[in-house]
Amino acid sequence: MANVEIAQERTPKPSKVPDNYPIIRVRDVWVSFSDHPVLKGLDLDVKKGEILGFVGASGGGKSVLLRSIIGLVQKQKGTIEVFGRDLDRLSEQERQAIERRWGVLFQHGALFSSLTVRQNIQFPLREYLDLSERLMDEIAIAKLEMVGLPAFVAEKYPSQLSGGMIKRAALARALVLDPEIVFLDEPTSGLDPISAGEFDDLIKALQQTLGLTVFMVTHDLDSLHSACDRIAALADGKIIATGPIGDMLKSDHPWLRAYFHGKRASSRLNGKKT
């Protein structure tokens, strides 16, 4: 039972990292693309077990930050720690062990186009675990139904799905190993408001039951209000404010005022009051 031993190695050991230490800790991160700086000394903490909403202007660098945390974009300067480990100082194996503990939902889904939805969802299972076909099928269907898709979608190819269905299938894939952190890049864009609401509920349910930490890039004001414990706002390559939605609404920062009290935001708030 070799895989059991490997599995144990990969599961979190009771670590020396204190409980209140941020699960993601970003310090002074600089990222630029051919001399065009996108992130300019960004600091950010994500606490264990919280849902952090990450907002900022379109093209402001939200996806870039997400991608540099998960190691897809090279940063020029700074440190990023996840699970209390500096990601620059990991061996190949340690890195893999850490990658297994997070799941990522890309902005455009990034499902493998030549695999069916079922095969897509089972991909991480096949890579990391040694399970029977039957159990893998059952897990795939369970995840699919948990993200709100009917079971028959499993045999379809990504090109046969709608945009919202792709999002959900991609979320199912991100969640299949029951990760400790999920990174979501605009999970509710392209979903109808009912589905978006269900999506928020699902994320909250997973957070409460599995102790999931969620890093969510979003423009969805409803998600920010109902799902997020804390919000971090990015402007001009830095975090300009963090805090629960109440603090954001009270803030005097011009960008935050425009974001949370703009026409669309206020009509929403007013709508709620009446």
Partner: protein, 380 residues
């Protein structure tokens, strides 16, 4: 072997079966947990009432919760009543979620058909796809010609820049490789000719052989095959990925005809470039032959040229050149048809790119055969 991370113990009590699950029921240990659960499922239990005590579970995730639920359902399917007890309240939502999944019938795997039927149906499919191919090529060619005439009556819609750009890609940039390959082929032909003709003292006929072969057949064939591999595949991949990302649809909804914007410039570029490349390539092959004849066969270039003038007529040259634009059209046609057939997946893109190269090379050779018959019958 590592210590068991999960466990499932059972005891029977007054006709009631008590199962007690403990440990870490999470996906890392799902292999172990599944083993325990299937073993239990295999055994027949007489008890009609089962309680699954989960109060000793340290850690639970969706996979673990599903395994517990699966066990419960299995008992229920066998006509017993089963319930999960002692659940830590924080896992309640999780179990509720899982209980709502996998309720439908399992999708059946369809079994393999009989091998004879399989082969026959494969043959049938191949025949149908061949007929479909032919139909589609003809239809596409028709559409291309129509849009060509449409452009002719409205010459200002002619995409001149685009054609120049495509010509640069498929024509100009292929020059070095075509020159190199045909130079080598000319040289090899000459070397083989000299080597074998020498036995009969007929070395000088090598010039006739190289001249006729290169100008009539080899020049145009090799150039076409090179372009099918180099440019046809690129066309298919480009058009295919544009189709995948709905770029072709975007053109269409903006009222532009993809035929006019994407296909026509590419096909025209190939039709113009192929004769030019054939000419350059053939010259290079003759030059290669001349070099070998000089270095290996020992006749001076002047003798080679004299002999060549006698051996070939202008018809020899034109036979090769006339074929070239048709080859270009075939390659362009196949490449574009295959490109537009690409469906959603990356795999399909690869499949059609391969099909494009294979089919266009095949058609180029078939067409060459047809031309050979035609020219033979008009005595050229």
């Amino acid at each position: 072997m590592a210590a068991q991370a999960v466990s499932l113990s059972q005891k029977e009590e007054a006709g009631k079966l008590m199962l007690s699950a403990a440990g870490r029921w999470i996906s890392s240990f799902a292999g172990q947990a599944e083993h325990l659960v299937t073993e239990l499922e295999r055994k027949r239990s007489k008890s009609k009432s089962i309680a699954i005590d989960v109060s000793h579970i340290e850690q639970l995730d969706t996979t673990g919760a599903w395994l517990l639920e699966r066990m419960r359902r299995d008992f229920e399917d066998k006509g017993a009543s089963a319930e999960i007890v002692g659940l830590n309240p924080r896992y309640k939502i999780l179990l509720d979620e899982v209980q709502q999944t996998n309720t439908g019938k399992h999708t059946e795997e369809h079994d393999d058909p009989n091998p004879v039927v399989g082969t026959l149906s494969l043959l049938g499919e191949m025949a149908v796809s061949f007929a479909k191919d032919t139909g589609e090529f003809v239809q596409f060619l028709g559409a291309a010609v129509v849009s060509f005439f449409r452009v002719l009556v409205r010459p200002w819609t002619f995409r001149f820049t685009s054609i120049v750009h495509q010509m640069d890609r498929v024509g100009f940039r292929s020059v070095p490789i075509i020159v190199l390959i045909l130079f080598l082929i000319g040289a090899i032909l000459a070397q083989q000719g000299i080597f074998h003709f020498r036995k009969f003292g007929a070395e000088t006929y090598v010039v006739d052989m190289v001249g006729v072969l290169v100008l009539r057949e080899v020049g145009v064939l090799i150039t076409s095959i090179m372009l099918a591999g180099r440019s046809g595949s690129a066309y298919t991949a480009e058009l295919g990925s544009m189709k995948m990302r709905e770029e072709v649809d975007a053109l269409r909804v903006m009222g532009r005809d993809p035929m006019e914007i994407l296909i026509l410039p590419r096909m025209i570029a190939l039709i113009i470039a192929l004769p030019l490349l054939t000419f350059i390539g053939s010259m290079s092959a003759l030059f290669g032959g001349m070099m070998i004849a000089w270095l290996y066969g020992g006749f001076a270039p002047e003798i080679f040229m004299d002999r060549l003038r006698d051996a070939i007529s202008s018809s020899t040259f034109w036979v090769g050149m006339i074929k070239a634009p048709f080859m270009g059209a075939v390659i362009g046609l196949v490449a574009c048809v295959e490109g537009f057939r690409v469906q959603g997946s990356a795999e399909s893109l690869g499949e059609h790119t391969t099909a494009s190269v294979v089919k266009s090379i095949f058609l180029v050779i078939v067409l060459d055969g047809a031309f050979a018959i035609f020219f033979a019958s008009i005595d050229w």
